[in-house]
Structures are given as structure tokens and as C-alpha cells.
Symmetry: C2
Subunit: 216 residues, 2 copies
């Protein structure tokens, strides 16, 4: 019974990791749409979110069934409850990719981001994707060291956001209000994807060690 439960718990975490892989593609697709102004890539991200939502429902139902029927205790219970909470965060990362894709779609055939801001946006996207990739691996491995390291990785994202604000609020900004607003919101969306990755990593630290990340 305990063995079967632990297999099912692992299967739940594997499903969660698969869901993360879909989000990884979504962030990549949304970024590609943003960088190239390609409407069909944006559409694919937007319509593809339904699959991520379906996975969330399935994982929620499986976890809940496991909780009801097996009434796990101690660390098993902790892990299962954590999975139920992480799944909402992974879903949100998918929603945020959709927000990025929608801004890209809104400006097609133009680019939402002026040429001189493309490299900073690209770097934000890379940091976000890297964090999603790492959190996917952390979900599978439940590696506390990697989770703690991820918790510190969003410093670059913060710095990129500050840098992008400095650009669009500087006297040299000649693109007016619309691209400035787009960039501020896009920066917010990438930053939130990173925040969710950190939050999931800190849940992993908590379920494995019993200590919150900020106490490490």
C-alpha cells in the first residue's frame, strides 16, 4: 500500500513536471511571437493554454482522489498538498505566457518592442525559460540545493526590469507611450513567471526540509 502510494505520488509529480514542460514551450513560443511579430506562433500559445488548463484539472483530481482514498500522513501528506498548490502556480505561468503572446498579437505585423529593447526583452525571456526548466527538474528531483539556488536566481530578472524601466523613462526614449506600456507589462509578466518558479522551488524546500526558504 505505502509503495503503491509512493508510486502514485511520483506519478503526480511527473505530471506536474510535464505540465511545466508545456509552460516552457509556451514561454518560448510567446517570446518568439514577440521577437518576430509572427501571429500564428502567438495564436498557438493562446489556444495551447487549454491543454495546460486540462492538465491542471487532471492533476488536481488525481491528487484529490489520492488524498481521499489513501489518507497519507506526514511527509507524504505534505508532498501531496504541495503538489495541489504548485499546480495552480504552474497554470499561472501558462496564463502569463498567454498575456505575452496577446501583446505580440495585438501589434502584428509590427513588433511590440522597439529594436533597441529587443535584446533586454530576449534576456528576460531567457531567464524566465531557464527558471521554468530548472523548476521542472526540481519538481522531479526534489533537490533542495537546486531549489535554494533557484530562489536566488531571480536577481538577474530584477536587474533587467530596473534596466528596462531606466530605458523607457530616459530622455532618449523616442517611441512614445504605447511601446513603453507594452514593455512595462511584458516585464511584469516575465518577472511573475520567475516569481512563480521561485515560489514552487521554495515549496519544494519546505516539504523536503520542513523549513521555509527565507529561513535557510
Amino acid at each position: 500500500m505505502r509503495k503503491a502510494f509512493s508510486d502514485e505520488l511520483n506519478a503526480t509529480f511527473d505530471d506536474l513536471a510535464d505540465m511545466c514542460a508545456l509552460v516552457e514551450s509556451a514561454v518560448n513560443g510567446a517570446t518568439k511571437a514577440l521577437m518576430t511579430g509572427d501571429a500564428s506562433t502567438a495564436e498557438k500559445v493562446i489556444s495551447g493554454d487549454a491543454e495546460i488548463d486540462k492538465m491542471r484539472e487532471r492533476i488536481e483530481e488525481e491528487s484529490f482522489t489520492l488524498l481521499s482514498l489513501q489518507a497519507p500522513v506526514a511527509s507524504d501528506l505534505r508532498l501531496l498538498v504541495a503538489a495541489l498548490r504548485m499546480v495552480s502556480e504552474v497554470e499561472r505561468m501558462g496564463d502569463l505566457s498567454v498575456h505575452v503572446a496577446k501583446i505580440a498579437r495585438l501589434r502584428v505585423p509590427d513588433l511590440a518592442v522597439p529594436a533597441e529593447m529587443l535584446s533586454i526583452m530576449q534576456r528576460m525571456a531567457e531567464v524566465a525559460v531557464d527558471m521554468v526548466t530548472r523548476v521542472r527538474q526540481i519538481i522531479i528531483s526534489r533537490d533542495v540545493e537546486a531549489a535554494i539556488a533557484l530562489g536566488r536566481a531571480d536577481e538577474e530578472m530584477d536587474q533587467l526590469r530596473r534596466q528596462s524601466f531606466a530605458e523607457l523613462l530616459s530622455d532618449n526614449w523616442t517611441h512614445g507611450v504605447e511601446p513603453a506600456v507594452d514593455i512595462a507589462l511584458l516585464g511584469r509578466y516575465y518577472e511573475r513567471i520567475a516569481d512563480h518558479a521561485v515560489s514552487i522551488a521554495s515549496r519544494v524546500v519546505y516539504v523536503v526540509t520542513g523549513h521555509r526558504l527565507e529561513e535557510q
Copy 2:
């Protein structure tokens, strides 16, 4: 045993409602700071968030203890797991109030919002506060009708956001980039507060009826 459990479950939901009341004050305080440029009100919201975070930790720990020791089943289990997920959303609403307060503080002694945009921002804030108030009552009453009604209440917020974008992207906008970016982000924060209220309401519908809100 069952009676004691149901008392404790109600106590958890009461705590969650109390946490909502703190968030209500935070949204109100942040809005006051935004409308008046009052730094000390902004500071109070920012430092007050620690209390909201502490409540979250306490509610999480209590729920988890209840889950471990009482191993509830069926609807009790469903409610308790829902509480554990709602608490994250209530905490996020608090964080979003802090974001609003920080924008207000950044522009002190000036106002972040130009005079002609104050009324639309004020209305966004009112809608957000109203939704937090209603969701607090829904958490206590678990009133499905009220929860379904709340799920439809964010239409005004969507409309206000569209209206604010139309203003700041119009040719009549003379305030430049900085207030435009502030307003876009502020709109996003109020909208997210409303989204979380809707999400909590839909969790209530789900735990009480077994159906998701979109299926109603």
C-alpha cells in the same frame, strides 16, 4: 470528533475571512496613498503586509495540522484543501496592495496619477475593495449564489481597464511615459486583486457544489 472537526474547520474559514479584512484595509490604504500622495499611509500598507504573511503561515499550519491529525474525508477534506489554496490567493491580494502603495510612495509628494485619471483609478479601487468585501462574506457564508454573482462582477473592472488604456494611448495624452506606465501597472494590480476574488469565489462554488464555476 466530527463536531470538533467542523468547529475547527469553521475557525479556519473565520481566520481566512479575518485575513481578507486585513487585505481590505490594505487595498483601501494603498488607494488613499495613491489618491493623496501621503507617504505615511503608503508606509503603513507596506509594513503591514508582514501581519498578513504571518496570518497566512498560521492558517497554513493550522490547516495542515487539522489535515494530519483528523484525516477528514469527502466534503470536509475538500473544504480544508480549498482553504489551503485560498490562503495563497488572499496573501497575493495583500502583495498587490503593497505594489500599489509602492508606486504611490515612489512619486511622493506628487501624485502618480494625473488629475483627470483619478476618478477612473478611484473606481477601479472601489470595485477591487467591493470584491474583497464580498469574497470575505462568501468565505464565511459559503453562499454559492453570491459566489456565482461575484464571478460575473469583474466585468466592470475589465471595462475600466480598457477605458484607462484608451485614455493613455489617445492623442490627448499629454503626461508622457512615466504616468502612463504607472497607470498601466496600477490597473494590472487592481485587476489581479479582482481576479483573485473571483478565483476564491469559484473555489467556494466548487467545494460546495462539486462543479466548477465555468460549468454553472
